[in-house]
């Protein structure tokens, strides 16, 4: 049987994907931008709308990074507002489990789930650094291993709170005066990180409980997702890497008593669509160039080299020095554990193609996943899904908020023609869209 695919829209920001200098680039803050992109996603019958999170402004060499989009509103508040202006679209918030208390998280996410009629999702971020912890009462002092176990415990407790109402306690009998059965929502938990008890004041929403999304590529992360997640948000957008990842993660489900359908694999990808393949390739090259200015190329290279490269000309050759491991040149984003082979590859490619530093960064780091005419893109997207490189995709546009218009207007109709994507929503909750049980 033909597999049905799943699509989500990411509101882009705070990295060099967003081409903020483009005249078509709108506000990254105003609600109208969020509303516009969400409406586009809902017009395209997407499964959900996805917001990332940042809890401290990133730094480069001790100063706030100023080249990319900086600043964004708080996710759960924005999504609660979007619940008012959308009717079917799932609403997914990335929320860090290190810097939040499980009870409060459970309450805020359950509120979103109720006011949206069962459309909420939580993307569980499992660990972050002490740099971020400087903004919080607690969390920043934990070492990496403890942050991970705290995340697991936090997720377990949040689910326990959501499940503290088992189903039939909400009575709503006005004549008898019984709103809910007494004792509904009672909970107690005593773990290494949290010792809490009380009553949870929200019953299950129409989808039972919010959908759990997990991003993570390490062995621990894959296992965590196989045990607990409904959607895994991966970085493997290429076909071969996608298939390998897909097979690995799906094979882990059986030991948790789960079917392969119960966890959807959705890599984050970029898409460039134009009238013809040739035009799309040209447009994609132009976008990459906009995404990587000279100063941005230097910062991205510094992230790999772990060194101050400000003396280098981005249009000149690659730095001759060796990279430094474990450097703190940049703060607030993921570095490289083993930069040496990557640097060697960059040097080989620069040599072979005569590339400058900036051209090397553009060509080595900023690949688009799907580039081509509407037919080329639709066929490629569908092939990835039918041949088990993914169950669907989280689309990351390079423009806010109009960056998905081409995909929704030109590619989605083809996917619908192929019979692999819905023409209208068949259910009302996010679990319905994802084909997950309640």
């Amino acid at each position: 049987m033909t597999k049905q695919l799943h699509l989500a829209a990411h509101f882009p920001g705070v990295n060099n994907t967003t081409v903020w200098s483009d005249p078509a680039s709108g506000s990254q803050i105003e609600f109208s931008s969020f509303r516009k992109l969400a409406e586009t996603a809902e017009r395209g019958t997407f499964d959900f709308f996805f917001l990332a999170e940042g809890l401290r402004l990133r730094e480069v060499k001790g100063k706030i990074h100023d080249l990319d989009v900086v600043g964004r509103p708080e996710s759960l508040t924005v999504l609660s507002a979007l619940a008012a202006v959308t009717t079917h679209l799932g609403l997914a918030a990335t929320v860090n489990s290190t810097f939040n208390e499980p009870y409060e998280l459970a309450k805020r996410l359950a509120t979103l789930d109720h006011v949206s009629g069962g459309r909420a999702a939580w993307n569980v971020v499992t660990s972050w650094d002490a740099f971020t912890g400087e903004n919080f009462r607690r969390g920043g002092y934990l070492d990496k291993a403890d942050r991970y176990t705290r995340a697991q415990e936090s997720l377990r407790i949040v689910r326990k709170l959501w499940d503290s109402w088992t189903g039939d306690e909400l009575v709503l009998d006005q004549a008898a005066g019984t709103f809910a059965r007494e004792g509904a929502g009672a909970f107690a938990d005593d773990g290494p990180h949290f010792s809490i008890h009380g009553r949870f004041g929200l019953p299950p929403s129409p989808q039972g409980r919010p959908v759990i999304i997990q991003a993570g590529d390490s062995d621990e992360g894959r296992e965590f997702a196989a045990a607990s997640a409904d959607v895994i948000f991966s970085r493997h957008g290429t076909f071969a890497a996608g298939q390998t990842f897909y097979k690995d993660v799906k094979s882990r489900l059986a030991k948790y008593g789960r079917s392969e359908d119960s966890l959807k694999i959705m890599p984050a990808v970029t898409v460039v669509v134009a009238d013809t393949d040739a035009e799309a390739i040209e447009k994609a090259a132009y976008i990459r160039e906009q995404q990587v200015s000279g100063p941005t190329a230097l910062v991205l290279a510094e992230l790999l080299w772990g060194r101050d490269l400000s003396a280098y000309d981005p249009d000149g050759p690659l730095p001759a020095e060796d990279p430094v491991v474990g450097s703190s040149v940049t703060q607030g984003r993921v570095g490289y554990n083993d930069p040496f082979p990557i640097v060697a590859e960059w040097r080989a490619q620069a040599e072979a193609n005569g590339w400058s530093l900036r051209q090397t960064v553009i060509n080595q780091q900023n690949r688009q996943t799907f580039v081509g005419s509407p037919t080329t893109v639709a066929e490629a997207v569908n092939r990835h899904v039918q041949e088990n490189a993914a169950d669907g995709f989280v689309l990351v546009p390079h423009l806010t908020p109009g960056g998905l218009d081409d995909f929704v207007d030109r590619v989605v109709p083809l996917l619908r023609e192929y019979g692999v994507f819905r023409t209208e929503y068949s259910g009302t909750t996010l679990r319905d869209h994802l084909g997950l049980s309640r």
Partner: protein, 342 residues
Amino acid sequence: MIIGLEIDGAGADPAAWRGAEVDPRALLTGELAVRAAQRAEAAGIDFVTFADALEAPEDVPDRVSVRLDALGLAARVAPVTERIGLLPTITVTHTEPFHVQASVATLDHISGGRAGWVVEVSTSGEAAAVIGRREPASAAETWREARYVVDVSRRLWDSWEDDAIIRDASTGRYVDRERLHYVDFSSPTFSVKGPSIVPRPPQGHPVTAVFVRTPEALEAARDAELVLLPDSDEVAAQLQALRTSGIAAEGSRSVPVIVVSLPVEAEEVGALVEEIGRWAAAGIDGVHLRPASLELDVPVIADQVLPELRARGLTGPADRGGSLRGRLGLGRPRNTFSGSAR
């Protein structure tokens, strides 16, 4: 007079949910709150507050034992209203100040400058037990901390200057980092580095309100911009205390806006209007109406009370807009960091 309205479940009367006019499911979807806010807005009411507490409501047989998070509910109301101020109750004792200020700033962004918050503390064992981070503390201790939370929130709202986003294509810079500021805030119980993740809200500072239920809250209300006083024999003395020592945020006004919180039942329209008139004469800035039933009493407030107040010249036209600060007569605060690093 400034007129506010309280949204608390189906109404302040614990039995309100049992009325035939109420669909109890609408409590959970937020529809009851949306309808009340829209009716209040159409009538020209200036703001709504959303009641909340960290812990679940009391688990008593004939009561509503569930409650939505006030901030989420206010955000749900924001896009379907245009002019009314939105003030969720936020308990700051167990929460992270950094998240709280970011959420309130976000409510201000999504509502186009209509956000505030009712700062609340928790001394209860129940709230401490559901979070598990610390033991319950006294009113004095929790309000002392709450004042630090208000202070750091205002600093974080200022941590982005209004013009920090420059989008300068010629240098490739999206922001001017000289217009972003570390707050380096330290209090006895928490510290925050900053800057905020959210650019400065449209109002500069969303409106900080305090509902005075204890002497300690009255002390803390001196830092507030909007004070809700319960209707009691002590109002005159409280008013005097606030008028003589108010130190509301710089750049707004020297004393907070003070309103008295009044219970409302639909059958008492004449008496209510008279009472509001008396409070106006006593020098109170406004009233905060607490309807017994949202479904029954809000339409009466909208259709009868507000027109009568308007006829007496006690309140402005229904269709006036503007920010919440504007409606309350508060100026837009100057940014304390403005120009400091340049």
